[in-house]
Symmetry: C2
Subunit: 248 residues, 2 copies
Amino acid sequence: MLNEKSLSVSQDCNECPIRHRAVCARCESDELERLEEIKYYRKFEAGQTVIWSGDRMEFVGSVVSGIATLTQTMEDGRTQMVGLLLPSDFVGRPGRPSAAYDVVATTDLVMCCFRKTPFEEMMVRTPHIAQRLLEMTLDELDAAREWMLVLGRKTAREKIASLLSIIARRDASINMRDVGDRLTFDLPLTREAMADYLGLTLETVSRQVSALRKEGVIELEGKRHVTIPDMGRLLEEAGDDADGGVFA
Amino acid sequence: MLNEKSLSVSQDCNECPIRHRAVCARCESDELERLEEIKYYRKFEAGQTVIWSGDRMEFVGSVVSGIATLTQTMEDGRTQMVGLLLPSDFVGRPGRPSAAYDVVATTDLVMCCFRKTPFEEMMVRTPHIAQRLLEMTLDELDAAREWMLVLGRKTAREKIASLLSIIARRDASINMRDVGDRLTFDLPLTREAMADYLGLTLETVSRQVSALRKEGVIELEGKRHVTIPDMGRLLEEAGDDADGGVFA
DNA sequence: CGGGGGGTTGATCTCCTTCAATCAACGTGG
DNA sequence: CCACGTTGATTGAAGGAGATCAACCCCCCG
């Protein structure tokens, strides 16, 4: 609120930080021009709800910066996170009139929104968009299935290690760091959000994080800043094959 | 093996039982002709593995009849089912060289396979296929997210009730029965497979099924034939809103 | 008849939840 | 500047849901 200006985002797709990873990644410049006609930016503050489950969807769009969560809630209040939305991730389902999940900004968030109906019409005539959306959806499906293994079969300790390794890996890929190195990052989630992601209570999350710290698997500065001295060790704790991808 | 003939399937797409629900649902007749050139049928017996995770994928395809499962396995043997493949469901990911999951036939199975490379080439030039695949993938993603809630937050009893209601609902939709009625169906899964789907042990599955039977929520003939006298009651036990969709 | 696959049931154990107290950091208003 | 409430996190004690280990049943089939 104080520095409205620093949050402002260029309308020009060519300057967009997610230009080459979002739904629009494969669009040609003429296609981008048409997208620019139906797009607009929206900003949300940390903690704000972007969409309520069941609400009519006026738009679909991409996360430009910040982090949001996709969650489901039962009548008695139990909640399960079903998606973690990072920059370039897509929000909304073309063809569906109302939202199926709650979308909440966990940090300050900027979204690039497309008016829903024009976007749907454009998708039919622009294979580049549908192709990219298919690719992204298949990736999300893989991620969801990976999480099903975590939720269904891993212990609390393994769940925490899995979450940390996923965040570490994505952070390394965004910042172009070698995964072999000592990795360092800030946790974008509170203990409660971690619990909602992992199907645990926040107390169990806290205990397991402390345990991993005491045993030297991770190092902590404050509550949120994490260092991973040995990625292989963390992957072992996650129940994953520590050598996966490196020698295979 | 005994009656090879009864398993034989027509090559003609127009006679295909999944013609209007599979990836090919939106194809015009000229597109179907081109698909017929690259397609072939394969049969698998109950228990047979269709593809091993990590294997090179020679084909993608659709389940024509029978049921298959998609599972992930950890090194120590823990397994989690991540998908239940019913007639018309799609197997394989275009663009990916090797399989990410084990695919196992749980009943005798007939698949309509497309040679992978020609199919991928065709997808680029045939929006009808890509559009339908996107739609199906989005549906699968929704189903996966629904399961994440089940795996992460529901009790064993709720998990069983959820699984039963899902199977009942799909069975009703295939057989065009009203969900309000007394529903009856055969469980396509062993207790162990149910456990792998729900992130439980087979003993817990057995106990909870027995409990639901004793309390009259379900009725059993033998081990596999299930009757649901009151769908609303089952949905309550599943932790879902019993009125969902009916009055809403 | 023996054997194996699928299923049920019982006893015990354990990991995680639940309930609760405490703490540190932060902002706010008197 | 300090008292106060709030929010996020840690830690402890107790209890319970589901896992584990084990025995046994039923049915089909060679």
